[in-house]
Protein backbone atom coordinates (compact mmCIF):
# COMPACT_ATOMS: atom_id res chain seq x y z
CA UNK A 1 0.00 0.00 0.00
CA UNK A 2 1.40 3.40 -0.90
CA UNK A 3 1.31 6.17 1.65
CA UNK A 4 -1.24 8.88 1.09
CA UNK A 5 -1.12 12.44 2.21
CA UNK A 6 -3.04 12.37 5.46
CA UNK A 7 -4.86 15.10 7.27
CA UNK A 8 -6.63 15.45 10.59
CA UNK A 9 -9.87 15.78 8.65
CA UNK A 10 -9.56 12.42 6.91
CA UNK A 11 -12.82 10.52 7.49
CA UNK A 12 -12.67 7.40 9.62
CA UNK A 13 -15.29 4.96 10.88
CA UNK A 14 -15.23 5.20 14.65
CA UNK A 15 -18.33 3.25 15.59
CA UNK A 16 -20.61 0.55 14.24
CA UNK A 17 -23.74 -1.03 15.67
CA UNK A 18 -26.86 -3.00 14.95
CA UNK A 19 -30.35 -3.42 16.36
CA UNK A 20 -30.57 -5.61 19.48
CA UNK A 21 -31.24 -8.59 17.20
CA UNK A 22 -31.66 -9.32 13.51
CA UNK A 23 -33.86 -11.93 11.86
CA UNK A 24 -37.35 -12.13 13.33
CA UNK A 25 -37.62 -9.23 15.77
CA UNK A 26 -41.32 -8.75 16.49
CA UNK A 27 -42.83 -5.90 18.46
CA UNK A 28 -40.42 -3.19 17.36
CA UNK A 29 -41.25 -0.38 14.95
CA UNK A 30 -39.00 0.54 12.07
CA UNK A 31 -37.93 3.74 13.85
CA UNK A 32 -37.21 1.83 17.08
CA UNK A 33 -34.91 -0.52 15.17
CA UNK A 34 -33.16 2.57 13.77
CA UNK A 35 -32.78 3.99 17.26
CA UNK A 36 -31.34 0.75 18.67
CA UNK A 37 -28.75 0.54 15.90
CA UNK A 38 -27.87 4.23 16.26
CA UNK A 39 -27.42 3.98 20.01
CA UNK A 40 -25.25 0.88 19.65
CA UNK A 41 -23.00 2.54 17.07
CA UNK A 42 -22.61 5.71 19.14
CA UNK A 43 -21.82 3.59 22.21
CA UNK A 44 -19.19 1.72 20.19
CA UNK A 45 -17.66 5.09 19.26
CA UNK A 46 -17.74 6.42 22.79
CA UNK A 47 -20.03 9.24 21.64
CA UNK A 48 -23.47 10.51 22.62
CA UNK A 49 -26.28 11.61 20.35
CA UNK A 50 -25.56 15.19 21.40
CA UNK A 51 -22.25 14.86 19.51
CA UNK A 52 -23.97 14.05 16.21
CA UNK A 53 -24.23 16.84 13.65
CA UNK A 54 -24.94 14.80 10.55
CA UNK A 55 -27.60 12.12 9.95
CA UNK A 56 -28.13 9.92 6.91
CA UNK A 57 -31.01 7.47 6.61
CA UNK A 58 -32.65 5.39 3.93
CA UNK A 59 -36.33 5.65 3.50
CA UNK A 60 -38.47 2.70 4.57
CA UNK A 61 -40.67 0.46 2.47
CA UNK A 62 -43.06 -0.03 5.35
CA UNK A 63 -42.98 3.13 7.40
CA UNK A 64 -43.26 5.97 4.94
CA UNK A 65 -42.29 9.48 5.98
CA UNK A 66 -42.15 12.40 3.57
CA UNK A 67 -38.91 13.43 5.32
CA UNK A 68 -37.62 10.14 6.66
CA UNK A 69 -34.32 11.41 8.00
CA UNK A 70 -36.06 14.21 9.90
CA UNK A 71 -38.61 11.78 11.32
CA UNK A 72 -35.76 9.62 12.62
CA UNK A 73 -33.87 12.64 14.00
CA UNK A 74 -37.00 13.74 15.85
CA UNK A 75 -37.65 10.22 17.20
CA UNK A 76 -34.07 9.68 18.35
CA UNK A 77 -33.51 13.19 19.70
CA UNK A 78 -30.78 14.55 17.46
CA UNK A 79 -29.86 18.07 18.68
CA UNK A 80 -30.93 21.17 16.78
CA UNK A 81 -27.29 22.08 16.14
CA UNK A 82 -27.12 19.41 13.39
CA UNK A 83 -25.82 20.59 10.05
CA UNK A 84 -26.86 17.81 7.67
CA UNK A 85 -29.91 15.57 7.87
CA UNK A 86 -30.85 13.81 4.68
CA UNK A 87 -32.04 10.50 3.31
CA UNK A 88 -31.31 8.37 0.28
CA UNK A 89 -34.24 7.08 -1.76
CA UNK A 90 -35.93 3.71 -1.63
CA UNK A 91 -34.91 0.76 -3.68
CA UNK A 92 -31.26 1.52 -3.47
CA UNK A 93 -29.07 -1.34 -2.40
CA UNK A 94 -26.25 1.07 -3.10
CA UNK A 95 -27.43 3.40 -0.40
CA UNK A 96 -25.22 1.87 2.23
CA UNK A 97 -22.18 2.46 0.07
CA UNK A 98 -23.39 5.95 -0.70
CA UNK A 99 -23.93 6.60 3.02
CA UNK A 100 -20.26 6.20 3.69
CA UNK A 101 -19.29 8.25 0.63
CA UNK A 102 -21.59 11.13 1.61
CA UNK A 103 -20.56 10.92 5.25
CA UNK A 104 -16.88 10.99 4.25
CA UNK A 105 -17.45 14.05 2.05
CA UNK A 106 -19.35 15.88 4.81
CA UNK A 107 -16.48 15.18 7.21
CA UNK A 108 -13.71 16.07 4.78
CA UNK A 109 -15.36 19.34 3.74
CA UNK A 110 -15.81 20.45 7.34
CA UNK A 111 -19.60 20.51 7.12
CA UNK A 112 -19.90 17.93 9.90
CA UNK A 113 -17.80 16.49 12.72
CA UNK A 114 -19.78 13.35 13.51
CA UNK A 115 -22.07 11.72 10.94
CA UNK A 116 -24.47 8.96 11.95
CA UNK A 117 -25.63 6.78 9.05
CA UNK A 118 -28.45 4.43 10.01
CA UNK A 119 -30.92 2.18 8.25
CA UNK A 120 -33.43 -0.33 9.61
CA UNK A 121 -36.76 -1.94 8.86
CA UNK A 122 -39.14 -4.53 10.23
CA UNK A 123 -39.37 -6.14 6.83
CA UNK A 124 -40.31 -9.57 8.15
CA UNK A 125 -42.58 -8.80 11.09
CA UNK A 126 -44.15 -5.69 9.65
CA UNK A 127 -45.18 -7.20 6.36
CA UNK A 128 -46.23 -10.62 5.15
CA UNK A 129 -43.62 -12.11 2.84
CA UNK A 130 -45.95 -11.76 -0.12
CA UNK A 131 -46.38 -8.11 0.78
CA UNK A 132 -42.62 -7.61 0.83
CA UNK A 133 -42.34 -9.23 -2.58
CA UNK A 134 -45.13 -7.00 -3.88
CA UNK A 135 -43.51 -3.87 -2.43
CA UNK A 136 -40.27 -4.73 -4.19
CA UNK A 137 -42.05 -5.52 -7.48
CA UNK A 138 -43.71 -2.09 -7.37
CA UNK A 139 -40.23 -0.66 -7.52
CA UNK A 140 -40.07 -1.06 -11.34
CA UNK A 141 -40.87 1.34 -14.13
CA UNK A 142 -44.61 1.68 -13.61
CA UNK A 143 -45.48 1.95 -17.28
CA UNK A 144 -43.14 -0.32 -19.23
CA UNK A 145 -42.03 -2.91 -16.66
CA UNK A 146 -44.54 -3.24 -13.82
CA UNK A 147 -47.36 -4.51 -16.09
CA UNK A 148 -45.29 -7.64 -16.73
CA UNK A 149 -45.00 -8.62 -13.07
CA UNK A 150 -41.23 -8.27 -12.81
CA UNK A 151 -40.82 -9.90 -9.41
CA UNK A 152 -37.41 -9.12 -7.98
CA UNK A 153 -36.10 -12.71 -8.24
CA UNK A 154 -37.12 -12.76 -11.90
CA UNK A 155 -35.28 -9.49 -12.60
CA UNK A 156 -32.08 -11.03 -11.24
CA UNK A 157 -33.02 -14.28 -12.92
CA UNK A 158 -32.62 -12.39 -16.21
CA UNK A 159 -29.07 -11.50 -15.16
CA UNK A 160 -28.22 -15.04 -14.07
CA UNK A 161 -29.68 -16.69 -17.19
CA UNK A 162 -27.62 -14.40 -19.36
CA UNK A 163 -24.48 -15.21 -17.35
CA UNK A 164 -25.17 -18.92 -17.73
CA UNK A 165 -25.73 -18.44 -21.46
CA UNK A 166 -22.55 -16.45 -22.06
CA UNK A 167 -20.16 -18.20 -19.68
CA UNK A 168 -21.61 -21.61 -18.90
CA UNK A 169 -22.18 -20.80 -15.22
CA UNK A 170 -24.12 -23.70 -13.69
CA UNK A 171 -26.98 -24.04 -11.15
CA UNK A 172 -24.51 -25.92 -8.93
CA UNK A 173 -22.16 -22.92 -8.96
CA UNK A 174 -25.03 -20.58 -8.08
CA UNK A 175 -25.98 -22.95 -5.26
CA UNK A 176 -22.41 -22.85 -3.96
CA UNK A 177 -22.83 -19.11 -3.28
CA UNK A 178 -25.74 -19.89 -0.95
CA UNK A 179 -23.79 -22.70 0.69
CA UNK A 180 -20.82 -20.37 1.31
CA UNK A 181 -23.04 -17.71 2.91
CA UNK A 182 -24.72 -20.27 5.14
CA UNK A 183 -21.41 -21.79 6.21
CA UNK A 184 -20.26 -18.34 7.31
CA UNK A 185 -23.57 -17.63 9.06
CA UNK A 186 -23.26 -20.90 10.96
CA UNK A 187 -20.27 -19.32 12.72
CA UNK A 188 -22.21 -16.15 13.55
CA UNK A 189 -24.56 -16.49 16.53
CA UNK A 190 -26.59 -13.43 15.46
CA UNK A 191 -27.39 -14.69 11.95
CA UNK A 192 -31.01 -15.11 10.87
CA UNK A 193 -30.40 -18.53 9.27
CA UNK A 194 -27.60 -20.74 10.63
CA UNK A 195 -28.44 -24.36 9.74
CA UNK A 196 -25.83 -25.67 7.29
CA UNK A 197 -27.05 -26.48 3.77
CA UNK A 198 -25.59 -28.39 0.84
CA UNK A 199 -25.59 -27.73 -2.89
CA UNK A 200 -28.20 -30.51 -3.19
CA UNK A 201 -30.40 -28.78 -0.59
CA UNK A 202 -30.23 -25.52 -2.50
CA UNK A 203 -31.06 -27.14 -5.83
CA UNK A 204 -33.96 -29.07 -4.26
CA UNK A 205 -35.53 -26.01 -2.66
CA UNK A 206 -38.68 -24.55 -4.20
CA UNK A 207 -38.32 -22.97 -7.67
CA UNK A 208 -38.89 -19.21 -7.50
CA UNK A 209 -37.82 -17.69 -10.82
CA UNK A 210 -35.39 -19.53 -13.06
CA UNK A 211 -32.61 -20.19 -12.48
CA UNK A 212 -33.21 -19.40 -8.81
CA UNK A 213 -34.58 -21.69 -6.16
CA UNK A 214 -35.66 -20.35 -2.78
CA UNK A 215 -32.24 -20.78 -1.16
CA UNK A 216 -30.50 -18.83 -3.96
CA UNK A 217 -32.52 -15.76 -2.87
CA UNK A 218 -31.74 -13.46 0.05
CA UNK A 219 -33.78 -13.45 3.25
CA UNK A 220 -36.61 -11.24 4.42
CA UNK A 221 -35.59 -10.07 7.90
CA UNK A 222 -36.05 -7.43 10.57
CA UNK A 223 -33.17 -5.34 11.82
CA UNK A 224 -30.97 -2.34 11.35
CA UNK A 225 -27.38 -1.18 11.26
CA UNK A 226 -25.54 2.07 11.85
CA UNK A 227 -22.12 3.53 11.17
CA UNK A 228 -20.51 6.59 12.79
CA UNK A 229 -17.98 8.57 10.74
CA UNK A 230 -15.76 11.30 12.14
CA UNK A 231 -12.38 12.91 11.56
CA UNK A 232 -9.06 11.21 12.17
CA UNK A 233 -8.30 13.93 14.73
CA UNK A 234 -11.51 13.34 16.70
CA UNK A 235 -10.90 9.60 16.59
CA UNK A 236 -7.51 10.11 18.24
CA UNK A 237 -9.18 11.96 21.13
CA UNK A 238 -11.73 9.16 21.50
CA UNK A 239 -8.98 6.56 21.80
CA UNK A 240 -11.04 4.01 19.88
CA UNK A 241 -9.81 1.84 16.98
CA UNK A 242 -10.51 3.91 13.86
CA UNK A 243 -11.02 2.25 10.50
CA UNK A 244 -10.01 4.37 7.55
CA UNK A 245 -12.16 5.07 4.51
CA UNK A 246 -9.30 4.61 2.07
CA UNK A 247 -11.17 4.83 -1.21
CA UNK A 248 -14.63 5.40 -2.63
CA UNK A 249 -15.79 4.98 -6.21
CA UNK A 250 -19.12 5.25 -7.97
CA UNK A 251 -20.20 4.41 -11.50
CA UNK A 252 -23.57 4.49 -13.22
CA UNK A 253 -24.85 2.03 -15.81
CA UNK A 254 -21.96 0.21 -17.42
CA UNK A 255 -19.64 3.07 -16.55
CA UNK A 256 -18.74 3.73 -20.19
CA UNK A 257 -18.06 7.22 -21.49
CA UNK A 258 -20.82 9.17 -23.24
CA UNK A 259 -23.46 6.44 -22.99
CA UNK A 260 -26.71 7.50 -21.30
CA UNK A 261 -27.17 5.81 -17.93
CA UNK A 262 -30.29 3.86 -16.96
CA UNK A 263 -32.52 3.56 -13.94
CA UNK A 264 -34.76 0.69 -15.07
CA UNK A 265 -33.43 -2.84 -15.58
CA UNK A 266 -34.79 -3.17 -19.11
CA UNK A 267 -32.81 -0.08 -20.14
CA UNK A 268 -29.44 -1.63 -19.29
CA UNK A 269 -27.33 -2.20 -22.39
CA UNK A 270 -25.54 -5.27 -21.09
CA UNK A 271 -26.67 -6.97 -17.87
CA UNK A 272 -23.23 -8.45 -17.32
CA UNK A 273 -21.19 -5.30 -17.94
CA UNK A 274 -21.68 -3.57 -14.60
CA UNK A 275 -20.16 -0.25 -13.60
CA UNK A 276 -18.27 -1.87 -10.74
CA UNK A 277 -15.37 -2.39 -13.15
CA UNK A 278 -14.98 1.40 -13.10
CA UNK A 279 -15.86 2.18 -9.47
CA UNK A 280 -13.66 -0.60 -8.07
CA UNK A 281 -10.72 0.73 -10.05
CA UNK A 282 -11.46 4.26 -8.77
CA UNK A 283 -11.71 3.14 -5.15
CA UNK A 284 -8.56 1.00 -5.31
CA UNK A 285 -6.56 3.76 -6.99
CA UNK A 286 -7.66 6.26 -4.36
CA UNK A 287 -6.78 3.79 -1.62
CA UNK A 288 -3.45 2.96 -3.22
CA UNK A 289 -4.14 -0.78 -3.04
CA UNK A 290 -4.13 -3.65 -5.51
CA UNK A 291 -6.27 -6.79 -5.63
CA UNK A 292 -3.61 -8.66 -3.68
CA UNK A 293 -4.03 -6.22 -0.77
CA UNK A 294 -7.77 -6.92 -0.35
CA UNK A 295 -8.27 -9.46 2.45
CA UNK A 296 -12.06 -9.65 2.52
CA UNK A 297 -14.85 -8.77 0.08
CA UNK A 298 -18.31 -7.67 1.16
CA UNK A 299 -20.65 -8.31 -1.79
CA UNK A 300 -24.32 -7.30 -1.94
CA UNK A 301 -25.76 -10.81 -2.28
CA UNK A 302 -29.43 -10.16 -2.95
CA UNK A 303 -29.40 -13.16 -5.30
CA UNK A 304 -26.76 -15.82 -5.90
CA UNK A 305 -25.57 -14.35 -9.19
CA UNK A 306 -24.50 -11.01 -7.76
CA UNK A 307 -21.38 -11.97 -5.73
CA UNK A 308 -20.20 -13.78 -8.86
CA UNK A 309 -20.65 -10.63 -10.94
CA UNK A 310 -18.89 -8.45 -8.36
CA UNK A 311 -15.86 -10.74 -8.22
CA UNK A 312 -15.58 -10.55 -11.98
CA UNK A 313 -16.32 -6.85 -12.43
CA UNK A 314 -13.99 -5.76 -9.64
CA UNK A 315 -11.27 -7.79 -11.33
CA UNK A 316 -10.60 -10.45 -8.71
CA UNK A 317 -11.28 -13.12 -11.36
CA UNK A 318 -11.81 -13.03 -15.12
CA UNK A 319 -15.21 -12.69 -16.77
CA UNK A 320 -17.11 -15.94 -16.37
CA UNK A 321 -14.83 -17.30 -13.63
CA UNK A 322 -16.85 -16.22 -10.59
CA UNK A 323 -19.00 -19.35 -10.39
CA UNK A 324 -15.99 -21.66 -10.29
CA UNK A 325 -14.40 -19.42 -7.62
CA UNK A 326 -17.35 -20.05 -5.29
CA UNK A 327 -17.75 -23.72 -6.21
CA UNK A 328 -14.06 -24.27 -5.47
CA UNK A 329 -14.44 -22.89 -1.94
CA UNK A 330 -12.15 -19.96 -2.67
CA UNK A 331 -14.69 -17.44 -1.27
CA UNK A 332 -14.98 -19.26 2.03
CA UNK A 333 -13.25 -18.30 5.26
CA UNK A 334 -9.72 -19.62 4.86
CA UNK A 335 -9.98 -19.34 1.07
CA UNK A 336 -8.25 -16.94 -1.31
CA UNK A 337 -10.76 -14.11 -0.77
CA UNK A 338 -13.46 -14.66 1.86
CA UNK A 339 -16.77 -13.10 0.80
CA UNK A 340 -19.33 -11.91 3.39
CA UNK A 341 -17.96 -13.63 6.50
CA UNK A 342 -21.08 -12.56 8.46
CA UNK A 343 -23.26 -14.69 6.18
CA UNK A 344 -24.46 -12.00 3.81
CA UNK A 345 -28.02 -11.11 3.00
CA UNK A 346 -28.63 -14.73 2.01
CA UNK A 347 -28.08 -15.99 5.58
CA UNK A 348 -27.26 -13.16 8.02
CA UNK A 349 -30.09 -10.65 7.43
CA UNK A 350 -31.82 -8.68 4.72
CA UNK A 351 -34.36 -6.22 6.11
CA UNK A 352 -34.88 -4.43 2.75
CA UNK A 353 -32.91 -1.25 2.37
CA UNK A 354 -30.57 -1.84 5.35
CA UNK A 355 -29.30 -5.16 3.94
CA UNK A 356 -26.22 -3.62 2.39
CA UNK A 357 -25.41 -1.47 5.39
CA UNK A 358 -24.66 -4.59 7.47
CA UNK A 359 -21.61 -5.03 5.24
CA UNK A 360 -19.93 -2.11 7.05
CA UNK A 361 -20.23 -3.19 10.70
CA UNK A 362 -18.96 -6.63 9.70
CA UNK A 363 -16.01 -5.31 7.73
CA UNK A 364 -15.09 -2.84 10.47
CA UNK A 365 -15.13 -5.64 13.06
CA UNK A 366 -13.08 -7.87 10.75
CA UNK A 367 -10.48 -5.12 10.38
CA UNK A 368 -10.43 -4.63 14.15
CA UNK A 369 -9.98 -8.39 14.58
CA UNK A 370 -13.12 -8.83 16.70
CA UNK A 371 -14.86 -11.65 14.82
CA UNK A 372 -13.91 -14.75 16.78
CA UNK A 373 -14.42 -18.02 14.89
CA UNK A 374 -15.31 -16.22 11.65
CA UNK A 375 -12.33 -13.84 11.78
CA UNK A 376 -10.43 -13.48 8.49
CA UNK A 377 -6.87 -13.97 9.74
CA UNK A 378 -4.81 -10.79 9.56
CA UNK A 379 -7.48 -8.75 7.74
CA UNK A 380 -6.09 -5.27 7.06
CA UNK A 381 -7.99 -4.07 3.97
CA UNK A 382 -11.47 -4.87 2.72
CA UNK A 383 -13.80 -3.85 -0.08
CA UNK A 384 -17.57 -3.28 -0.01
CA UNK A 385 -19.57 -3.57 -3.26
CA UNK A 386 -23.23 -2.85 -3.86
CA UNK A 387 -25.68 -1.60 -6.42
CA UNK A 388 -28.69 0.64 -6.60
CA UNK A 389 -31.67 1.17 -8.81
CA UNK A 390 -32.10 -1.76 -11.12
CA UNK A 391 -28.51 -2.75 -11.83
CA UNK A 392 -28.07 0.99 -12.27
CA UNK A 393 -25.39 2.41 -9.95
CA UNK A 394 -22.40 0.82 -8.39
CA UNK A 395 -20.60 2.19 -5.33
CA UNK A 396 -17.39 0.58 -4.11
CA UNK A 397 -15.71 1.44 -0.82
CA UNK A 398 -12.29 0.35 0.42
CA UNK A 399 -11.70 0.35 4.18
CA UNK A 400 -8.45 -0.30 5.98
CA UNK A 401 -6.99 -0.65 9.42
CA UNK A 402 -5.06 2.43 10.51
CA UNK A 403 -1.37 1.88 9.96
Amino acid sequence: MTARGSSGRDPVIIGVGESSAVGRVPGKSSLMLHAEAALAALGDAGLRKEDVDGVLTNESYLDYHVRHSMAFAEYFGIPSTARMITSIPLGSGASSGLFVHYAANAIRSGQCEVVLAVSADNFLSGLARSGAVKALADNRDKEFEAPYGPALPACFGLVAQRHMHEYGTTPEQLASVAVTMRRHASMNPRAHQRDPITVADVLASRPIASPFTLLMCSLVSDGGAAVVVTTRERARDLDRPAIEILGAGIAYGDGEDKVPLHSSLSQARDLLRIGTHVSAAQAMAQAGVTHADIDVLMAYDCFAIMPILYLEAAGFVGAGEGGAFFAGGRAELGGDLPVNPHGGMMSYAHPGNPGGLFMFPELVRQLRGECGPRQVAGAEVGMVTGYGGQMAFWPVTVLGRSR
Binding site: S130, V133, K134, A137, D138, D141, K142, E143, F144, E145, A146, P147, Y148, G149, P150, A151, P153, A154, C155, G157, L158, V159, A160, Q161, R162, H165, R206, P207, I208, A209, S210, P211, F212, P260, S264, L265, S266, Q267, R269, L271
Partner: protein
Protein backbone atom coordinates in the same frame (compact mmCIF):
# COMPACT_ATOMS: atom_id res chain seq x y z
CA UNK B 1 -53.17 -10.83 -16.81
CA UNK B 2 -51.54 -7.99 -14.95
CA UNK B 3 -52.21 -6.02 -11.83
CA UNK B 4 -50.44 -2.81 -12.74
CA UNK B 5 -52.17 -1.07 -15.60
CA UNK B 6 -50.04 1.53 -17.36
CA UNK B 7 -51.28 5.11 -17.14
CA UNK B 8 -50.30 6.89 -20.38
CA UNK B 9 -48.48 10.20 -20.12
CA UNK B 10 -47.94 12.98 -22.64
CA UNK B 11 -44.76 11.10 -23.63
CA UNK B 12 -46.46 7.77 -24.19
CA UNK B 13 -50.10 8.21 -25.18
CA UNK B 14 -49.35 7.71 -28.88
CA UNK B 15 -47.46 4.50 -28.05
CA UNK B 16 -50.45 3.06 -26.21
CA UNK B 17 -52.91 4.24 -28.90
CA UNK B 18 -50.86 2.42 -31.53
CA UNK B 19 -50.65 -0.70 -29.37
CA UNK B 20 -54.43 -0.70 -29.06
CA UNK B 21 -54.56 -0.55 -32.87
CA UNK B 22 -52.21 -3.54 -33.07
CA UNK B 23 -49.07 -1.65 -34.04
CA UNK B 24 -45.74 -1.39 -32.21
CA UNK B 25 -44.37 2.12 -32.86
CA UNK B 26 -41.52 4.02 -31.23
CA UNK B 27 -40.51 7.66 -31.40
CA UNK B 28 -37.48 8.37 -33.57
CA UNK B 29 -35.56 11.64 -33.41
CA UNK B 30 -35.54 13.39 -36.79
CA UNK B 31 -32.39 15.29 -35.79
CA UNK B 32 -30.08 12.38 -34.93
CA UNK B 33 -32.08 9.41 -36.17
CA UNK B 34 -32.04 7.50 -32.86
CA UNK B 35 -35.02 5.50 -31.63
CA UNK B 36 -36.06 6.42 -28.09
CA UNK B 37 -37.31 3.79 -25.66
CA UNK B 38 -39.01 4.34 -23.30
CA UNK B 39 -41.05 6.86 -25.33
CA UNK B 40 -40.15 10.48 -24.63
CA UNK B 41 -40.74 13.88 -26.20
CA UNK B 42 -37.08 14.90 -25.99
CA UNK B 43 -34.37 12.72 -27.51
CA UNK B 44 -32.08 11.33 -24.81
CA UNK B 45 -29.16 11.32 -27.26
CA UNK B 46 -29.22 14.82 -28.81
CA UNK B 47 -32.00 16.65 -26.89
CA UNK B 48 -33.91 17.18 -30.14
CA UNK B 49 -37.68 17.53 -29.87
CA UNK B 50 -38.64 16.79 -33.48
CA UNK B 51 -39.84 13.20 -32.99
CA UNK B 52 -41.69 10.96 -35.41
CA UNK B 53 -43.52 7.72 -34.59
CA UNK B 54 -42.06 4.83 -36.56
CA UNK B 55 -43.67 1.37 -36.88
CA UNK B 56 -41.41 -1.51 -35.80
CA UNK B 57 -41.23 -4.85 -37.59
CA UNK B 58 -42.42 -6.61 -34.44
CA UNK B 59 -39.67 -9.20 -34.85
CA UNK B 60 -37.27 -9.71 -31.95
CA UNK B 61 -34.73 -12.02 -30.32
CA UNK B 62 -34.83 -13.16 -26.68
CA UNK B 63 -31.90 -11.51 -24.81
CA UNK B 64 -32.73 -13.18 -21.49
CA UNK B 65 -35.71 -14.64 -19.65
CA UNK B 66 -36.82 -16.02 -16.31
CA UNK B 67 -39.66 -18.47 -15.73
CA UNK B 68 -41.53 -17.12 -12.71
CA UNK B 69 -43.00 -19.76 -10.42
CA UNK B 70 -44.04 -17.39 -7.70
CA UNK B 71 -46.20 -14.55 -9.01
CA UNK B 72 -45.87 -11.27 -7.11
CA UNK B 73 -49.63 -10.80 -6.94
CA UNK B 74 -52.86 -12.70 -7.43
CA UNK B 75 -53.64 -11.05 -10.78
CA UNK B 76 -50.79 -12.79 -12.60
CA UNK B 77 -50.81 -16.30 -14.01
CA UNK B 78 -49.20 -18.98 -11.84
CA UNK B 79 -46.28 -19.49 -14.19
CA UNK B 80 -45.09 -17.00 -16.76
CA UNK B 81 -41.99 -16.02 -18.70
CA UNK B 82 -40.55 -12.61 -17.92
CA UNK B 83 -38.21 -11.66 -20.76
CA UNK B 84 -36.03 -9.00 -22.26
CA UNK B 85 -36.24 -9.05 -26.05
CA UNK B 86 -34.16 -7.14 -28.59
CA UNK B 87 -36.26 -5.74 -31.42
CA UNK B 88 -34.65 -6.11 -34.83
CA UNK B 89 -34.46 -2.31 -34.86
CA UNK B 90 -32.10 -2.47 -31.86
CA UNK B 91 -34.32 -1.59 -28.90
CA UNK B 92 -34.61 -3.82 -25.80
CA UNK B 93 -38.02 -4.23 -24.12
CA UNK B 94 -39.27 -6.03 -21.03
CA UNK B 95 -42.16 -8.32 -21.95
CA UNK B 96 -43.65 -11.78 -21.60
CA UNK B 97 -43.00 -14.68 -23.93
CA UNK B 98 -46.43 -16.31 -24.41
CA UNK B 99 -48.19 -19.01 -26.42
CA UNK B 100 -45.58 -21.66 -25.69
CA UNK B 101 -44.39 -24.01 -22.95
CA UNK B 102 -42.24 -21.85 -20.63
CA UNK B 103 -39.64 -24.62 -20.56
CA UNK B 104 -39.17 -24.25 -24.33
CA UNK B 105 -38.03 -20.62 -24.15
CA UNK B 106 -34.34 -20.08 -24.92
CA UNK B 107 -31.98 -17.11 -25.18
CA UNK B 108 -31.55 -16.30 -28.86
CA UNK B 109 -35.03 -17.55 -29.73
CA UNK B 110 -36.84 -15.54 -32.42
CA UNK B 111 -40.16 -14.04 -31.33
CA UNK B 112 -42.92 -11.85 -32.82
CA UNK B 113 -45.09 -9.25 -31.14
CA UNK B 114 -48.77 -9.64 -30.43
CA UNK B 115 -51.03 -7.48 -28.32
CA UNK B 116 -52.84 -8.56 -25.21
CA UNK B 117 -55.78 -6.33 -24.18
CA UNK B 118 -55.88 -5.80 -20.42
CA UNK B 119 -58.50 -3.01 -20.40
CA UNK B 120 -60.53 -0.92 -22.84
CA UNK B 121 -57.58 1.43 -23.23
CA UNK B 122 -54.47 -0.69 -22.84
CA UNK B 123 -53.14 -3.54 -24.94
CA UNK B 124 -49.76 -4.82 -23.76
CA UNK B 125 -47.15 -5.89 -26.30
CA UNK B 126 -46.14 -9.49 -25.60
CA UNK B 127 -44.10 -11.87 -27.75
CA UNK B 128 -44.68 -15.40 -29.02
CA UNK B 129 -42.35 -17.77 -30.81
CA UNK B 130 -41.83 -16.62 -34.41
CA UNK B 131 -43.09 -18.90 -37.09
CA UNK B 132 -40.03 -19.90 -39.12
Amino acid sequence: MSVTEPVPTADSEVFWERCKAGELSLPRCRDCGELNWFPRAMCRYCSGTDMEWVPMSGQATVYSFSVVDRPPSPGLPGRYVLALVDLDEGVRMMTHVVDCDPDEVRIGMRVSVRFQPISDEISLPVFRPAIP
